[in-house]
């Protein structure tokens, strides 16, 4: 199912982002969670469907909450996603982006 691919792709992007924030190479993350570098590559590309305990290991190694590695609840979640992406940005940016996105979506 296409959406599942996107789900794992998003998990991959989140892992990659967290890894870069921690300034870890794929190699070093791999050794922290006892996987091969290839596995990390595959996870980050969304090609490997990861096990729950791997998610937990990754979150620990990356020192993040494992929920932050999971996509926001996809049921009508465009807004939650946008909120997430805007978190921590300066207010003028948030306002600019929100009003532009809302005018495209035709919502208020």
């Amino acid at each position: 199912m296409g959406d599942r691919e996107e789900f794992y792709a998003e998990v991959g992007r989140r892992v990659k982002k967290a890894r870069k924030l921690r300034m870890l190479t794929q190699e070093s993350l791999a050794s922290l969670v006892s996987l091969t570098r290839t596995s990390i590559t595959n996870i980050e590309k969304g090609r490997q469907k990861i096990l729950l305990h791997t998610l937990d290991d990754l979150a620990k190694a990356l020192r993040v909450d494992y929920a932050s590695l999971l996509p926001a609840n996809p049921v009508g979640s465009s807004d939650t996603d946008l909120q997430d992406a805007l978190k921590g940005r300066p207010l003028p940016e948030q306002k600019f982006i929100k009003s532009a996105v809302q005018s495209v979506r035709g919502g208020g």
């Binding site: 996107e6 998003e10 982002k17 996809p74 979640s77 465009s78 996603d81 946008l82 997430d84 992406a85 805007l86 940005r89 003028p92 940016e93 306002k95 600019f96 982006i97 009003s99 532009a100 996105v101 005018s103 495209v104």
Partner: protein
């Protein structure tokens, strides 16, 4: 790491050809629309140029442009963000603040972020295609290019700023800065 110059030139040429755009000014907003990217203009702080938002749930993308900026600059911003959309995977939201069009030499010495340089090149290639300039410049005597008026007029015809046009002409070797 060098930027993907050839790839970007090819991509821009291909887009122009596919959408049958054969002369300046390039309708960049329509082009974005044809690629499924909505363009929205909203007034905001002067330091913000624009943003690219990729909605992964709805699988769509939105380019936001600062409506307070000069229309020529807005065009460059749209082209720049479209460059990010086509060239870079990137984050969900990418915001650009007052980027400047700079000469290649300045780029390399300052180590400006590679994705920004690639998007700037894409913007230049799509708004001021070398082939369009070549045929338009046939009508202009080479010496006249040193006169600001000629560059200004050319910039006006391409709906870009005089500065952007000047840098483009310099990069293509038509003028020296």
């Amino acid at each position: 790491m060098p930027i993907r110059r050839k790839h970007i030139q090819f991509l821009a040429e291909q887009l122009l050809r596919r959408h049958r755009i054969r002369s300046a000014p390039v309708p960049i907003e329509d082009l974005a629309g044809a690629l499924g990217v909505s363009v929205v203009k909203e007034p905001t702080d002067d330091e913000l140029s624009g943003f690219l938002y990729r909605d992964r749930v709805q699988k769509s993308a939105i380019i936001g442009v600062n409506a307070n900026h000069h229309p020529n600059r807005q065009n460059f911003t749209i082209a720049h963000e479209l460059g990010h959309f086509l060239l870079h995977e990137g984050d969900e939201v990418h915001v650009d603040r007052g980027f400047q069009i700079k000469l290649r030499t300045e780029f390399s010495s300052k180590g400006v972020d590679i994705e920004e340089r690639e998007s700037n090149l894409f913007a230049a290639e799509i708004l001021m295609p070398a082939s369009f300039l070549k045929s338009d410049l046939k009508k202009v005597h080479a010496l006249r290019l040193d006169v600001d008026d000629a560059v200004e007029e050319l910039a006006r015809n391409y709906s870009v700023s005089t500065q952007a046009m000047l840098f483009r002409l310099a990069n293509l070797g038509y003028v020296k800065l």
